[in-house]
């Protein structure tokens, strides 16, 4: 067993590059999904029926489709329409679009729970448009939604593992490769599990500090 871990240690470069890919992929798609979510949320809450129903259809649709299937569709299905993406781009696109729906729903919920008065006060003091959004609306919204967004980021990290099926060299793929070449399944995958756990603990620590920031301001 120790010998097995020794083999894993000797392959640490591969594992670390897998972890790096997982982290970069998750971070990029989380950021992109959040931005897309910000664009979607107004449509979701719109009083006009067309944008609202399109947005609602998209969000509900993504909620009902398994991510792995969606990733398959993006990678294997899009070429039927002439869009051929490599596995990295497919993975990024799939993760981003899928989670944009969840982010939009999270932001909508957080926005609905926000008190209106501070914003009215902001308008009364002369804030408008971008300034209003940046200084008055956004900070409390992010503080309130922080924990839920953090949970979604953990979800994104775990979804990224699915992309091993399209041969994206993330962490699970690296562990798989090590185990298939050296026959050290337990050592390889347990190490991957601990690395995922560590990554999630980092995200949870970040969420924790946002929660403390929020609590101090209550």
């Amino acid at each position: 067993m120790i010998h097995d871990f020794g083999i894993v240690w000797s392959e640490r470069d591969l594992l670390l590059s897998g972890l790096g890919n997982t982290t970069i992929l998750s971070a990029l798609s989380a950021a992109a999904a959040l931005l897309l979510g910000f664009a979607l949320t107004p449509a979701l809450m719109s009083k006009q029926r067309l944008p609202a129903s399109i947005a609602r259809g998209f969000v509900d649709g993504m909620r009902c489709v398994p991510f792995l299937l969606f990733a398959y569709i993006v990678y294997y299905g899009l070429p039927s329409f002439g869009i051929r993406l490599d596995n990295w781009t497919s993975g990024l696109v799939a993760l981003t679009i899928y989670n944009a729906a969840y982010m939009a729903e999270i932001l909508r919920g957080a926005w609905a729970a926000q008190p209106r008065e501070p914003i009215e006060a902001g308008v009364a003091f002369g804030f408008s448009n971008i300034g209003l959004f940046r200084h008055i609306v956004l900070p409390p919204l992010l503080l309130a939604a922080g924990p839920v967004i953090g949970n979604q980021m953990i979800q994104i990290v775990k979804d990224s593992a699915f992309l091993t099926i399209i041969a994206l060299p993330e962490l699970t793929h690296a562990a798989s490769s090590i185990q298939s070449r050296h026959y050290v399944p337990f050592a390889a995958f347990i190490t991957a599990v601990f690395l995922y756990w560590g990554l999630c603990l980092v995200i949870e620590a970040g969420v924790g500090s946002i929660e403390r920031l929020a609590a101090a301001r209550r």
Binding site: C64, V65, P66, L69, K158, Y183, L201
Partner: protein, 215 residues
Amino acid sequence: MSGSDVLAILQGAVVTVTLSLAGILIGLPIGLALAVLRWADVPVIARAVAVYVSMLRATPLVTLLLLLFFALPNIGIEIDPISAAILALVMNTAAFNCEVWRAGLMNFPKDQYEAAQSVGMNAGLRFRRIVLPQIVRGCLPGLVNEMSLLIKVTPVLAVVGVVDITRAAVRIGAETYDPLPPFLVAVALYAPIVFALVSLQRWIERRQSKAEAAA
């Protein structure tokens, strides 16, 4: 896509539903047991459960499945894809269910529990007659949510060769060089199941908030 192709995907649906049900039905009580162990603060075991739940919630299902499928034979336990799949599903969903149950237990009103103590109910009676009937109601939305999430991760079982909806669709796509139609059929099978569960959850939540408002 021919009729027999559609049939193959439907057969995959049977597998998906069966394995999902197995995971849900086994994972619910195990999750409750884990939550009770933490709530009762059994020395050592409560900490072990906390660590287990934390790790399982952070582990991607595909990684867990590969770990079980390849590592168990290595230490002498032969395991077939279906058993590995069910084991992975149960381990995963039990950890998430544990947190849902635990939230219900921790939010349980202390004075109702003390009233049960004061009339001489022992721990077993208190839990069975007073705590459990009420937390089942409170935890239902979270548990149904977890059920819908479980169904959405079942495609991972294709990775170890279990022929569920996704693997059937992938195989047909590979054979016909036309991957999109079987994928869309797959979506058409998953979506109603998940949508039904999500709607059920929303209906339960609405009913409960109405009941609370009326009280």
